[in-house]
């Protein structure tokens, strides 16, 4: 099983991911563990529940805000931004 690599950008930086991977998996497997800061404490957040329940891993995907990184599948040219 060797899925085609796709290129996405994370905060403008190009990042290689495997086709079908979630955005969260693409980030975490490249060593990016946090991509959001909390409103009150400014604490770093990334994946937690991994299955769409906790909303900790929210990212902006192609301009669409508040998307769960653990659920969104990467595709070629996808622009991902943290917050």
């Amino acid at each position: 099983m060797n899925p085609q690599p796709v290129t996405i950008t994370f905060d403008g930086r190009p990042l290689t991911a495997a086709a079908g991977q979630s955005v969260g998996a693409a980030l975490a497997s490249q060593g990016v563990t946090a991509w959001r800061s909390t409103r009150k404490g400014g604490r770093p957040r990334g994946l937690f529940c991994g299955i769409g329940v906790c909303f900790d891993c929210l990212v902006t995907v192609d301009g669409e805000t508040n998307q769960r990184a653990c659920l969104v599948e990467v595709c070629e040219g996808m622009e991902v931004e943290g917050s």
Partner: protein, 477 residues
Amino acid sequence: MSVTVDVAVVGAGPAGLAAAVAAAEAGARVAVVDAGNQPGGQFWRHAPETVQRQAADVQADGHGHHGWNTYLDLRARFDAAQHAGRITYLPGLQVWMAERSEDGFVLRTTPAVASAGAAPVTVTADRLVLCPGGYDRQLPVPGWDLPGVLAAGGIQAFIKANGVLPGKRFVIAGTGPFLLPVAAGIAEAGGKVLAVLESSAPSAWLPHLAAASGVPGKALEGAEYAAAFARHRIPYRTRSIVTEVLGSDRASGVRTARVDPAGRVRPGTERVYGDVDVVGFGWGFTPQMELPVSLGVETRLDADGSLVGVVDDRQQSSVPGLYLAGEVTGVGGATLAVLEGLAAGAAAARPDPGVPVKPPAAIARHRRFAQAMHQAHPVPAAWQDWLTPDTTVCRCEEVTAGDITEAREDLGARDVRSLKSFTRAGMGWCQGRVCGFAAACLGAGPGEAPGAGSLAGSAKRPLAAPVGIGELAALDG
């Protein structure tokens, strides 16, 4: 778009797939709404089918899965019923509101992923089978909000869906048999599991319990994990907990301790594991109760302290025409979920059998086994002692243990709903799904477990999923 059917099924995991197949094969027109992009749910989560694959890959997906042949059988029947026009499959959609109508039920849905392009669908059905499953139950501990801390099930889902690991060096902690497949899966995928910390002491329970309950398959599973632990040299430490996750902006280690049977830390047993990049926590599971609760089903507390729905011998809830299957009737695993799904689907397809129905004996056996498992793996009574006042409990709204105990002591807020209004615990994005159980325990007080009323308050969510203003505005009537 709208769809009208005889039977609507929510969820396409073990229970939902089974219910859909059983209802369709009994002659009903069925619609299946599922948040996932492909059938399987969390338990049978597998590599994305959108990526071009060969037949061998489908078998390879089964690696590390239990009951994969059951999945392949249900999936083949599901696909056949879909091709025959008996099942309308609606993936990538979450139900944000379920309502009773004059002669049935109406489900309003919203895309799980905005960019994926699934259009909202309204489903109208005479009967409804809810199979929403569950997710890892969490107990907060200092540092659990650091990146690198994941739900145990989240780690497993990550590996099953992506075929890669979320880190290199893992500590898995909590309670319950589920920690075993999580750790074994990490090791099989090439990760290093430094330790599995189990708060209970279930010494050699599995073979005995499995035999006593009449489910020998569970003993085989246990033996497989024991072999995997031996092969990968994974230390399994019982009566042990993580007392703190260490690190400043991400998890880098854990402090652990031995505990007594009540979960109190035994002084002098502290130990530090450094060089950890992923910590996985799982304290059993929380059934997803918002849809059953919003439709008014009768609920009860199960042996694991979870709020679950009451069902009869045909899996029907206290609401006529509303059937429940899987974790929402009591956490019991995939085999039980499939049996319940088959029973619920068949009953929903033929609501009036004219004769009493005897549930399969296997359901009773698996329920007995699940009860024994819950009793062997309780949430430690003294877990609240592990918290410091500044430990985050509600991750969304950043509410601390100190905030909650203050509301309890000074304002008399003892149930989840009052705590929510005084502290905002459970008011954020996840609507208390993650902190609800812990907040309910804290409201009940040290050493106390929450009652069904408080947990039902936590599961009462005006919207079952976040939804856009546009979808609210589009509601007619």
